[in-house]
């Protein structure tokens, strides 16, 4: 891309993303400060003496002014050191690095399956608009979209793991240090829940977008120019249908970040969802902060990518960049 405007756009959006993350970091930090109980007390338990609690507070640096704590945390985070877990007394990456990786794997797997699948369904229903297939798939999508993940999850468990058939594991048992990719059978249900949650949205947007493009004057014009159907589809329709689809994909990947927490809980999957819940329980502030920042970074990155992709396929937006 030799277009300076596009680079400037990327630069601007990156700055904006960083600013967003900065704001998130302040909010997260402030929120963890407001947690009702004292982390030192939470770690040592109810019976610890005032003295030992104070000693621990000092050791953890909790006695310093909040601004100083924040600054210290932020500078270290930026330099790549998220700090130590209060609870495990281990560097955070050693403590939950695996779990971040596990969740990421789940998320990527769900995206890689759901995106092409929903585009196919969307495109096919658009093509078969108002046929039985279209009606059935629309209704199924609508039903799926209105069900919360845990309901879908339970249903799948009942169907495949417990009462009806017992073909898939109902919980994941992945020891730390073992990649989830070594247990693909255990990945099926968690992934399926996420996929079923996302497909309706992407597919519906894809369908609407393709229908709109298909009814557009320029697609009719292409046919009247004598364009073969493949050319109509790939040259005239698809590039113009991509913009809205990118946006909804980004939304859904961001949604996965939240969905992952529910799904992990449901299947006892060793990911960040479990880690986050556990950390909140024991007031493991550094871990909470780190995980929230990871989620925020994911969110920002995905949206940035979608905006960039949209701009690249939309000349009207692209050429406006100076």
């Amino acid at each position: 891309m030799g277009n300076i405007g596009v680079w400037k756009f990327i630069g601007r959006r990156l700055l904006l993303g960083l600013a967003t993350l900065l704001v998130v970091s302040i909010v997260v930090f402030a929120a963890t400060q407001l947690l009702p109980s004292d982390p030192a007390r939470a770690i040592l338990g109810r019976d610890a003496t005032e003295q030992s609690v104070n000693a621990l507070r000092e050791e953890l640096g909790l006695d310093r002014p909040a601004v100083e704590q924040y600054w210290d945390w932020l500078t270290r985070l930026v330099s790549g050191d998220p700090g130590e877990s209060f609870n495990a007394r281990l560097p955070i990456m050693d403590y939950i690095g695996d779990r971040v990786l596990n969740s990421l794997f789940l998320l990527v797997l769900a995206s890689v399956i759901s995106i092409p699948l929903s585009l196919l369904i969307g495109a096919y229903s658009a093509r078969k608009r108002d046929t039985a297939f279209d009606h059935v798939s629309s209704n199924v999508m609508l039903a799926l979209a209105s069900l919360p993940e845990f309901v879908i999850g339970m249903f799948l468990v009942v169907l495949f793991s417990t009462i009806v058939w017992q073909v898939l594991p109902a919980v994941t048992v992945i020891a730390s240090g073992e990649g989830p990719w070594n247990h693909l059978d255990q990945m099926i249900l968690p992934t399926a829940v996420l996929v079923l949650g996302a497909v309706p949205y992407i597919a519906r947007t894809a369908r609407a977008s393709i229908i709109e493009v298909n009814e557009s004057d320029y697609v009719e014009m292409a046919r009247l120019k004598g364009a073969p159907e493949e050319v109509v589809l790939w040259r005239h329709a698809v590039p113009n249908a991509l913009g809205p689809v990118f946006q909804v994909i980004a939304l859904n990947v961001a949604y996965f970040a939240g969905g992952v927490i529910v799904v992990e809980f449901l299947f006892n999957y060793p990911g960040i969802g479990g880690a986050l819940a556990a950390s909140v329980r024991v007031r493991d502030i550094p871990v909470i902060q780190f995980l929230v920042m990871v989620l925020a970074a994911l969110y920002v990155t995905v949206n940035l990518a979608a905006d960039l992709a949209t701009v690249l396929v939309t000349p009207r937006l692209r050429t406006r960049l100076k």
Partner: protein
């Protein structure tokens, strides 16, 4: 001469209901001939145009008939051959190039593409050369830089030229043009029309020119076919059809068409053409035709050859409905009174901090109709919105009966707000779609504090005043036709018993007959109620029959101002002269452009 196009017994119907959209269409076009296919919206003219390319839109199917291009029946071609014929044998120029060009493709590619589909010249080299040539033919640059542009980087006129370039690229035998100049300003339209005329003539291309605008085809087409409710009701040489229409509907069309060249009142006809499924047995025009007899309701009249080459489908060909005998326009005698009702002094309007209208001064006398005419972007609407208090960014003085008005209508007194009424191009701007018409019309009365019973009575009165009935008060805006909605919006304006009516392009979304009837209505209101009117439009011909004085706006200034007759007959400014010259006229001396005249 063998015909380039031969349409035989064409019937197209709605897939779902089987209702006829178009029926019994028989047309021919000779090589090099331009046939104007004229009709209002919903008449089926575009459907016929597309059928020439063997194309039907979603929900429409060919029921019977044949469309020959030379010896090829476009409706019988298998998929593959149909594709080969489209864009090569017969091509299409769309109505709105801004939506018909692919926004994500460079225009050069879009032209080259149509050559590639049909393997023009056999090599990329030849296709590049042909692209440059055809760009030249439609008077566009063919520099690499220009070809690399995207559609949105072109002006409307340039976009339509790209449309023409795509259509002419493969040197087709036939070209279908679907209102290709809608939305272009008159000078651009004039250029595009000249290009079409030259290319069809010099390459011997047969053209089907689909339009609702009689003035455009009057100067372009050799023959005219008039469509009503899916049927061709009249067909003949342009001069003949214009001078002496044989079908009553065609007569109404001519009488309703605004014409810069003719000195006559516009005559309108309320109502609308019946849509597919609601068409009566017999002549579909019978519902509105004042000449209708028993016979007309029995069957659709067979074609009658009124004169050689003149086909009319009416049981009384050549009969003249009384209403269409339009009186000539009486030269306006309005004198400028000393006491203007509305006056503007040094009014300068900005839009987003940019000055768009500069130093406007004029007075509107009681009972006068002042027309503000200008092309898009001239600032006419911004100015009129400022007068209506809908746009606030202005300086200077706008006064009503000598009293300066506040910038925003919110800061004006109730009385002031009621006395100046603004009527929008889009009636939905003043009619709440979720409330019955009556409630919307009563709004100004409520503001004025009129009690409910009195308001009800007034609403009924106003609706009747605009030729609606009191029953319309209970209907919702979307249950009305476009013309009825605009009438309701006018009734709402009248309910306040205003002194000044500001009409912003109020007819531009309407069909010719309905437009004329709205113009008639406004004229009657002026006459009967003594209303002063500021009529804003881009449509110069429309002005002729109603304006006392004209203010021509260009780039935010009034460049010429004076009595309507003087300005149209003896324009002083170069800009006005060009505007008038570029505007197509129906009444041209003897139609001398036409071979058959």
């Amino acid at each position: 001469m063998t015909q380039a196009v031969r349409i035989e017994g064409l019937r197209l119907e709605a897939v779902a209901s089987g209702h006829d959209i178009v029926d019994e269409v028989e047309l021919t076009i000779a090589p090099g001939e331009v046939l104007g296919l004229v009709g209002e919206s919903g008449s089926g003219k575009t459907t016929v145009g597309l059928a020439v390319l063997g194309h039907t839109r979603r929900g429409v199917r060919v029921a019977s008939g044949r469309v020959f291009i030379g010896d090829t029946d476009m409706l019988a071609l298998p998929e593959r051959e149909l594709r080969e014929a489209r864009g090569k044998l017969v091509s299409y120029v769309p109505q709105d190039p801004s939506t018909a060009l692919n926004p994500a493709m460079r225009i050069g590619r879009q032209v080259v593409e149509v050559l590639e589909f049909h393997d023009f010249g056999g090599s990329d080299e030849a296709r590049r050369a042909r692209t440059a040539e055809v760009m030249h033919e439609v008077l566009l640059p063919s520099t690499p830089d220009f070809l690399r542009r995207y559609p949105h980087q072109l002006s409307g006129g340039q976009q339509q030229r790209v449309g023409l370039a795509m259509a002419f690229a493969n040197r087709p035998k036939v070209i279908v043009l679907d209102e290709p100049t809608t939305g272009l300003d008159v000078s651009t339209q004039a250029h595009v029309l000249a290009t079409v005329r030259n290319l069809t003539a010099s390459h011997g291309v047969a053209a089907l020119y689909v339009t609702h605008d009689l003035a455009v085809v009057a100067n372009l087409a050799h023959r005219i076919a008039v469509m009503y409710a899916g049927r061709v009701v009249e067909l003949g040489p342009t001069a003949g059809v214009f001078d002496d229409p044989g079908h009553p509907y065609a007569r109404y069309l001519m009488a309703a068409a605004p014409d810069l060249g003719g000195e006559r009142e516009m005559v309108g006809l309320p109502g609308r053409a019946p849509s597919p499924g609601k068409r009566p047995v017999g002549c579909a025009f019978a519902l509105r035709c004042e000449l209708a007899t028993e016979e007309c309701h029995v069957a659709f009249p067979p074609p009658i050859e009124m004169r050689p080459g003149r086909m009319v489908r009416c049981v009384r060909p050549g009969a003249v409905p009384d209403r269409t005998k339009a009186p000539p326009v009486v030269a306006s005698s309005s004198t400028v009174s000393e006491k203007p009702v509305l006056s503007l002094r040094d009014v300068t309007v900005s839009y987003a901090e940019k000055q768009v209208v500069h130093d406007i001064n004029f007075d509107l006398s009681p009972g006068e109709c002042l027309v503000l005419v200008g092309e898009s972007g001239s600032g006419k609407t911004t100015l009129s919105r400022s007068i209506g208090g809908l746009h606030h960014e202005w300086v200077g003085t706008i006064s009503l009966d000598g009293k300066a008005l506040a910038h925003s209508s919110r800061d004006r007194s109730v009385d002031e707000r009621l006395r100046v009424q603004y009527i929008f191009q889009n009636p939905y701007s003043s009619l709440n779609p979720r409330r019955p018409i009556g409630a919307s019309v009563a709004r100004p009365l409520m503001i004025a504090g009129v009690d409910e019973k009195e308001a009800d009575r007034r609403v009924g009165e106003m609706l009747e005043r605009v030729s609606l009935t009191a029953a319309h008060a209970r209907r919702y805006p979307d249950q009305l036709s476009g013309g009825e909605r605009q009438r309701a919006a006018i009734a709402r304006g009248l309910a306040a018993d205003p002194e000044v009516l500001v009409c912003d392009e109020v007819t531009s979304a309407l069909d010719v007959l309905v437009q004329a009837s709205i113009v008639e209505l406004l004229a009657a209101l002026r006459r009967d109620l003594g209303l002063s009117m500021l009529f804003v439009t881009h449509n110069l011909p429309l002005v002729r029959s109603m304006a006392d004085r004209i203010a021509v706006m260009m780039e935010g200034r009034i460049c010429e101002f004076g009595p309507a007759h003087d300005i149209i007959e003896r324009p002083q400014q170069e800009y006005t002269r060009r505007l008038i010259a570029d505007t197509p006229k129906i009444t041209v001396n003897g139609h001398k452009d036409h071979p058959d005249a």
